[in-house]
Symmetry: C2
Subunit: 278 residues, 2 copies
């Protein structure tokens, strides 16, 4: 396929690429999105690189699913509803059209299930596979969740067990995120490990935290659950007056103390999670 | 620098990363953008890859400038006003912090001059330099220019001479684009060569075109001006009742005929411009 044929094929796979506020989608120079009054927009970009974020042997459907899933996880953490995405994909000439189509099959399956319209993007050649996904989400004005509102006394909760292996697809916690908007005082998605992401939440909120228990995924170790990353669960704080939400677990309490300090088993837990840039 | 230090440095270089509707910028998981009532949003993503779109020896300031400039050129072609951008950058560990900072100096100089807030992004390691820029632009509702509105009898115009060498920065034609919104019947930016981009405009508008003259840049050949690409001038169509706009040149006329056909010097001009995917 040449570029025009490929774009036309993807436009059909994406169901035309319009709806959910997308007035012009795939095939135009720019996508055109029409927000509703009193909506705030959340913008997120994330990249997935062969041999850095995934092994060369990973199935293209899973690569596509994860490329979108990672960005959607951040949209979930903001309490927002995804509307559309743009995908920039670069790959070696040795990868056949079949790889590209399988990548988009995986991406579009998640996109359709979450109401995310594939509105445009760009495809190019490169030495290794490289994918950037940009997602636009919406939330009622002023209701977006941030890392920065946790207060001493708040319950510290997570949406699932930690330390999972990351050879599978990502299930962004969008339904939970929407429930948390207007309820949670702070929220972050666990992409770089509990220890580092909790440090970030506490630092931004200028509070400390005490972790009482860590729910460990089947087959994982405590070390992996604390520092492993790639969980894509939500970590959030709820005022004490709220009951726990179904399907979530309380793991500790926000406490006064030096900003960013996390206590676990009587010691300070160092933020040992993944630093992408080290 | 580690990731946190780098992000903080970039946040300062970007002037805090708020304004122009950006409520939350660099340093949060998502950027938060608040559109005004009756605004349509234009979304564009473009990628710039070492050894594909630029040589390894290109100065990082120019790489950064071009990475943003390419996407802004599409925003200009839609008649829109850029508001913010997200930048996903991947690069080898051998590139020092100085390369990254110089890249962003180049990008931010153009961003500030055009009112584009650097609102977020992602930095990672990779085997070769890879940059994706996503830009959000705004335009009055329903006023965005497209490729698709040209009609027989319209004047065919360009914003500058063609066939320029592409070792320098890009000057996106934003001021002209804004003037054209509500006036031009169709518009596209010349990134892949006059012959291919004019073919696309005609195909989308279901018309043909006759080219009478091609303004050739100093030192360029006619062949390069017709098929070379990387001009980043605007190609647009104006109803016959309008006078030519200052700084633009009329190069031909939209005519009835098979969609996409371009006549030049009595022959059909084949769409020989760059196909990124061939």
């Amino acid at each position: 396929m040449n570029e025009l044929e490929l774009v036309e094929k993807l436009r059909k796979m994406a169901g035309g690429g319009r709806s959910r506020g997308v007035i012009r989608g795939i095939g135009d120079d720019c996508a055109l999105f029409r927000p509703k009054p009193a909506e705030d927009l959340l913008l997120k970009t994330d990249q997935l690189i062969e041999a850095v974020h995934f092994p060369k042997t990973m199935r293209p459907e899973i690569v596509g699913q994860r490329a979108l899933g990672r960005a959607l996880s951040d949209i979930a953490a903001a309490g927002a509803d995804p509307r559309c995405c743009l995908v920039a994909l670069a790959l070696p000439k040795s990868r056949a059209d079949q790889w590209i189509l399988a990548f988009f099959r995986g991406l579009l399956a998640l996109a359709k299930r979450t109401g995310t319209v594939l509105a445009g993007g760009d495809i190019s050649h490169a030495g290794a596979i490289h994918c950037s996904v940009m997602v636009v989400g919406v939330v009622a004005r002023g209701k977006a969740l941030t890392r920065a509102g946790a207060r001493p006394g708040d319950q510290l909760c997570v949406s699932g067990r930690l330390g999972k292996r990351w050879d599978q697809g990502i299930e962004p916690r969008l339904a939970l995120g929407r429930k948390l908007a207007g309820k949670a005082t702070a929220c972050i998605d666990l992409s770089d490990g509990l220890s580092l992401d909790l440090y970030r939440l506490c630092k931004a909120s200028r509070v400390a935290a005490r972790v009482d228990r860590v729910p460990i995924a089947r087959g994982a170790t405590l070390d992996r659950a604390l520092h492993g990353g790639e969980d894509y669960e939500l970590l959030f704080t709820l005022p004490a007056r709220f009951k726990p939400l179904t399907g979530t677990m309380r793991i500790g309490t926000i406490v006064p103390g030096p900003a960013g300090t996390v206590w676990f088993e009587g010691k300070i837990l160092p933020p040992r999670g993944y630093d992408h840039f080290k």
